[in-house]
Symmetry: C2
DNA sequence: TCTTGCGTTAAAGTGAACTTTAAAACAAGA
DNA sequence: TCTTGTTTTAAAGTTCACTTTAACGCAAGA
């Protein structure tokens, strides 16, 4: 089964110019061309695109993804480097998830705050509520947020470099 | 306790020019100035910066964060809009975490694949292993990844706009 | 008093990942 | 064959969030 760039765009949700951009950056060396120079995508190419999206979601830049593609093209001699790359990305994604969980804690607390402020008519009134009168889950959330405090700056879950 | 921009930079890990940039973009309307025009940060300002970092981590752009700051400055009449904003961000962060979990699944599978390829000496050899001979957790992972397949394109956990 | 090291600003530059434009070639149906 | 819609390319433009530069001012210690 062969697909044009328009088909692939529709299937993946990626704009056709983005697919061409990926190709230009060397991310799609396996995509064949018809005799008029028109790209002919296969189902395996869609798999590659899924992998590319996954690596992007894990925080890799285009040039890092190209590096992976290049390694793959080189074959079995690069297994070890690719293996290391995936282990590294796992660590990064775990850090990102931890950071997102902290963010979620903060947002959840704020939702309670604004729910209560909406009910009381003022934000100040909420800030005057003693810890003892807050719902227990909110109190625990506050404590957790306070603990994370120190580590929340000094970017623990960031960094786009290698 | 008052801090210079250098102190705050050190405490937060944010470069001083970044703090000035935030200020210029209207994210720090509450920071006072000394008579030489020098910024005097307070502990409450550090709290604001934490909140800004949190909102950034939740996927808001600078201009959206400014909107939140502006609403806060306007006072209690904007409680409802702020409340809605936080609920919306919670939904977004949950989607992002779900997407990261899928990414993690894929990376975990790939780690197994390259571990095994390293042991066998070739990637092809791994691809020939029948499902029945894979470790159960890997088999389950593969199934989960296959299910996610369809939804993995058509960006379920992205979009930076409103 | 002079130097050093902070602070200030406006403005220009950067890097990443697209996105848009323009001009031309192709492919399929009437 | 002609038309219409899709494809091709190179190149320029866009957006975001900084980052760097340049020129200048204040304040404390030698």
């Amino acid at each position: 089964m062969l697909y044009t760039i328009g088909d692939v765009s529709e299937k993946t949700g990626l704009p056709a110019p983005t697919l061409r951009y990926y190709d230009k950056e060397g991310l799609l060396p396996f995509v064949n061309r018809g005799n008029g120079g028109i790209r002919k995508f296969q189902d395996t190419d869609l798999e590659w695109l899924r992998m590319i999206e996954c690596l992007k979601a894990s925080g890799l830049q285009i040039k890092d993804i190209k590096r992976y593609i290049d390694l793959t093209v080189q074959g079995d001699s690069t297994i070890e480097e690719r293996r290391k790359m995936f282990y590294k990305q796992i660590e990064r994604v775990k850090r990102d998830m931890w950071a997102l969980q902290n963010t979620l804690d903060m947002l959840t607390y704020k939702c309670w705050l604004y729910d209560t402020a909406a009910a009381l008519g003022s934000v100040e009134a909420v800030k005057e509520i003693p810890l003892g009168e807050m719902p227990e889950n909110i109190r625990k959330l506050k404590e957790k947020i306070a603990k994370t405090h120190c580590s929340s700056f000094r970017k623990c879950g960031e960094g786009s470099g290698k």
